[in-house]
């Protein structure tokens, strides 16, 4: 919160005007630098994933072998999976093949790329819908609350958004299941897919999306509300208000533009939380996404699959963070 709180203040500092071309060039260089930093971070993160799985008890050979197999069988399996080689060597092989699009082979002998091809779009659909709803919901609620500070709506939104953020996805999901499906029978309790691999009906998406949206909307509403409050204290918003503009005009035309960087950063960090939440939500609703693949892969100590899921999610998060940076840069640029 403190971090996001400082951003609008930063925005108020007006940079020295620059020619447009130089500015674009500087922006590109900055984006490239940020990207390089993020890629490096991703590599470090993946190395940590390899190391962490190494530290877990058991390995893929014991986890995926049949019980009938003796110690010799497990040892042979370990050789087959390359687990007898040092972890850094396996990591190096995997990470150097990554740029070619080769995600490796799972402990059960499937291509990891094939394993993720179908679930990834399902997770993107689930997470994407939840993301859009979160942004819309947070903006609407945050603006509504900011329209009349300390009013009834503001206090109610403050209370409910805090409560919603404090609720884990798991609790929200179980509550939704009980009310919307098992008691009333309005929505199907689990996702069942058809021949095309997508959920059979759109109604199956409602509860998983809501379970992800509710906590994140709580979090982002608070950020929107906070950013708008910071903006309300700035001289230009003050001036707009004194000019006799309507609350709506003041909020949308004068306060909100300055609040964008903070809001963008807030929702960008939600991407990670949303993707993390899918592991729980997908398992509960049987949604065929990568969250469930990840849960199973961890149980199997299936390093290439876990690393591939982490790489995919990290790539998604990186893209969203970059977009947030662009929003920030644009807002600052527009001010110059």
């Amino acid at each position: 919160m403190t971090e996001t709180g400082t951003r609008p203040a930063e925005a108020a500092v007006r940079p020295v005007p620059k020619p447009a071309a130089r500015r674009a060039g500087a922006l590109a260089a900055r984006a490239a630098a940020v990207l390089a930093k993020r890629v490096l971070m991703l590599v470090v993160l993946l190395a940590l994933v390899f190391a962490a799985i190494e530290l877990l008890p058991g390995d893929a050979a014991t986890a995926t072998s049949e019980r009938g197999e003796g110690a010799a069988g497990v040892a042979a399996r370990r050789r087959l999976l390359g687990l007898d080689r040092p972890v850094w060597e396996r990591f190096w092989d995997w990470i150097t093949a990554l740029p070619t699009g080769d995600l490796g082979t799972s402990a059960r002998g499937e291509r990891v790329g094939d394993l993720l091809a179908a679930p990834l779009p399902n997770t993107v659909l689930l997470g994407g819908t939840a993301f859009v709803l979160t942004v819309l919901g947070a903006l609407a609620l945050g603006a509504w609350a900011a329209a009349r500070p300390k009013g009834l709506v503001d206090r109610a939104v403050d209370l409910t958004s805090t409560a919603a953020f404090a609720l884990p996805e798991f609790v929200v999901a179980v509550g939704l299941l009980l009310v919307l499906s098992l008691w009333t029978g309005w929505l199907p309790a689990a996702t069942v897919t058809g021949a095309d691999g997508a959920p059979a009906t759109w109604t199956m998406l409602v509860m998983p999306v809501l379970a992800l949206t509710v906590p994140q909307t709580g979090w982002n509403t608070r950020i929107v509300r906070g950013a708008l409050a910071d903006q309300a204290a700035t001289p230009h918003v003050e001036a707009a208000r004194l000019d006799g503009l309507t609350t709506r005009q003041v909020l949308l035309r004068h306060a909100l533009p300055g609040a964008w960087p903070a809001i963008a950063t807030g929702v960008a960090t939600s991407t990670g939380m949303l993707l993390g939440g899918t592991v729980v939500v997908e398992t509960l609703f049987n949604h065929p996404g990568i969250g469930t693949v990840l849960a199973g892969a961890v149980a199997d100590r299936d390093t290439p699959v876990i690393a591939a899921v982490v790489a995919c999610s990290a790539a998604l998060i990186t893209v969203v963070l970059l977009l947030a940076d662009l929003v920030r840069a644009r807002t600052l640029g527009a001010r110059s």
């Binding site: 877990l56 008890p57 058991g58 390995d59 014991t62 986890a63 995926t64 072998s65 049949e66 019980r67 009938g68 197999e69 003796g70 069988g73 042979a76 399996r77 087959l80 799972s106 059960r108 002998g109 499937e110 394993l115 179908a118 679930p119 299941l177 499906s181 098992l182 029978g185 199907p188 309790a189 689990a190 069942v192 897919t193 021949a195 095309d196 691999g197 997908e282 398992t283 509960l284 609703f285 049987n286 065929p288 469930t292 693949v293 990840l294 849960a295 199973g296 892969a297 149980a299 199997d300 100590r301 299936d302 699959v305």
Partner: protein, 512 residues
């Protein structure tokens, strides 16, 4: 419970009550009550599975029940779990041993054909069995039979020669001897035609739709189609069942049964003798090496309480003999009951150290396993025996404790053969001798069973074997968990067999 059992009886019809309680008597093919089987309809069935563990290869390691279900509907094994006999023919119509019980001849069923119309030949079977044998776990799946000892004799006979006399070889061909066309290329395996009661319509990410094979060699198949949905958790599957999205929740477990109990529109199908969760005591060294100590442990467990609390009542009390579903299981050996006074006397006689705390290692691999250890520990406390339960993660357990530890819990899913356990876990030097038990009299009884073709003499030897096992083995088997499926009332003819018997859906039919 009575309510459930009554419902089962109503659905079971021609089956005797004993079939429901002990899986003996009756015939899977017998017409069920509620009228005669009706042709048609689509069965929506849920089965457990994880997307990361999906396997399409019939000879691969099937970590998912959903995958195994699909494979078992499309492909036939040589033999299958049965009711009166624990092994019945499937793709093989007959199987006969040589006098020394080393050579077994399997006859391919008359009229057996692949889904594309090609008849099944002995060469297809030989190719498939050799392929199975060549997989990483091939030696465990076809023990004692090397690839070059699998040969064809004419168009319809397959000959298997075991390295040692093996009266139970057909039993070992029940689970994974799926037959594919000779020479099927690796990349074609997932869509390769089978010979089973259903043909694959589509398969996608663990879910599948299958349609009736009207020409199945095993008889008429009632259902038009089966839709298999994979569920990642029993909870999600149970919810789907409760909200009417599926007609059958396969192997969903006791917790789901408890939830569904209040619902009149859902039937709880109990398949007895599904899972054994024995406590293993090391017999060769350590605190349990003295047979008196082991007997004392078997006397201080309160079996009824274990079944009631650990299994929510969905199970039966057992008598320290593994293979409770075997038609030859010795029911006449007196049931061991709780006797704290005698247990304490035995422990004192054996000089048991009451001041020590003994570690009982367990895992959470199957529902109720860790709970069984905890409850046993509290029961032992009543006799002054201090037990500390140590939970280990599955991988670590198999590396550090299994086959090595002094005192641990484990579980077994194939429980319809006494000999299966004897050969795998109880004879001297057996590959998975969990308690490191070595008993000359037991080994002799086992050898006699394996090498005796005469039915009466074999039964006598088998009873001997079970008596010794009951008396002094390293297994404390307090009870057997039921396999539990949930089903809509319109579903009839569901399999009642434990373990992998649950995948036989060819006799299932739907009431209008």
């Amino acid at each position: 419970m009575d309510f459930t059992r009554r419902q089962l009886l109503a659905a079971g019809g021609g089956l005797g009550a004993s079939a429901l309680l002990s899986a003996c008597g009756g015939d899977g093919a017998a017409p069920a009550a509620g009228g005669s089987p009706r042709q048609g309809g689509t069965l929506r069935i849920g089965a457990l599975g994880r997307p990361s563990a999906i396997t399409r290869d019939p000879h691969g390691t099937q970590g998912n029940e959903s995958d195994y279900l699909v494979i078992a509907l499309v492909y036939d094994t040589l033999t299958a779990p049965g009711d009166k006999d624990n092994t019945v023919g499937r793709l093989a119509s007959a199987f006969t041993p040589s006098k020394d019980l080393r050579t077994w001849r399997f006859t391919v069923a008359e009229g057996a054909a692949f889904h594309d119309g090609t008849p099944v030949t002995a060469n297809d079977v030989v190719w498939s069995l050799r392929r199975l044998r060549g997989t990483p776990s091939g030696a465990a799946r076809l023990p004692g039979v090397t690839a070059d000892h699998i040969t064809a004799d004419g168009k319809r006979t397959v000959v298997l020669v075991s390295d040692y006399p093996n009266a139970e070889l057909p039993l070992l061909t029940r689970l994974s001897t799926f037959v594919l066309k000779k020479g099927t290329a690796g990349k074609d395996i997932p869509e390769a035609p089978g010979t089973g009661p259903f043909k694959l319509d589509w398969y996608r990410d663990g879910n599948a739709r299958l349609v009736r094979n009207a020409d199945w060699h095993g008889g008429a198949v009632h259902l038009d189609a089966v839709e298999v949905t994979m569920f990642q958790s029993p909870q999600a599957m149970s919810n789907a069942m409760l909200s009417g999205q599926i007609d059958v929740a396969s192997n969903v477990g006791a917790v789901a049964a408890r939830t569904a109990k209040a619902r009149r529109d859902i039937r709880i199908v109990r398949r007895p003798d599904d899972m054994a969760m024995p406590i293993v005591m090391r017999t060769s060294s350590g605190p349990f090496a003295d047979p008196k100590v082991r007997e004392a442990m078997k006397l201080l467990v309160d079996r009824e309480a274990m079944v009631a609390q650990v299994l929510s009542g969905y199970g039966t009390v057992a008598n320290d003999i593994l293979g409770t579903g075997d038609p030859a299981y010795a029911k006449d050996i007196p049931q061991r009951k709780r006797d704290l006074a005698r247990a304490e006397r035995l422990l004192t006689d054996a000089g048991f150290d009451f001041s020590r705390t003994y570690q009982l290692v367990t895992t959470e691999d199957v529902a109720g396993l860790a709970e069984s250890a905890t409850l046993f520990a509290s029961q032992a406390r009543e006799a002054g025996v201090r037990i500390e339960v140590v939970k280990q993660e599955s991988g670590a357990f198999y590396q550090k404790t299994w086959l090595k530890g002094d005192f641990y819990t484990n579980y077994w899913g194939t429980n319809d053969s006494v000999v299966f356990f004897a050969s795998k876990t109880l004879t001297t030097g057996a590959g998975q001798n969990e308690a490191d038990w070595s008993d000359t009299a037991f080994d002799a009884a086992y050898r006699k069973v394996m090498a005796t073709a005469d039915r009466a003499a074999r039964a006598a030897a088998l009873r001997d074997l079970q008596r010794i096992e009951h008396e002094r083995s390293g297994y404390l088997l307090w009870g057997m968990a039921d396999g539990i499926d949930l089903a809509a009332p319109k579903v009839h003819g569901l399999p009642k067999l434990p373990g992998y018997g649950r995948v036989q859906l060819e006799n299932v039919w739907l009431a209008p």
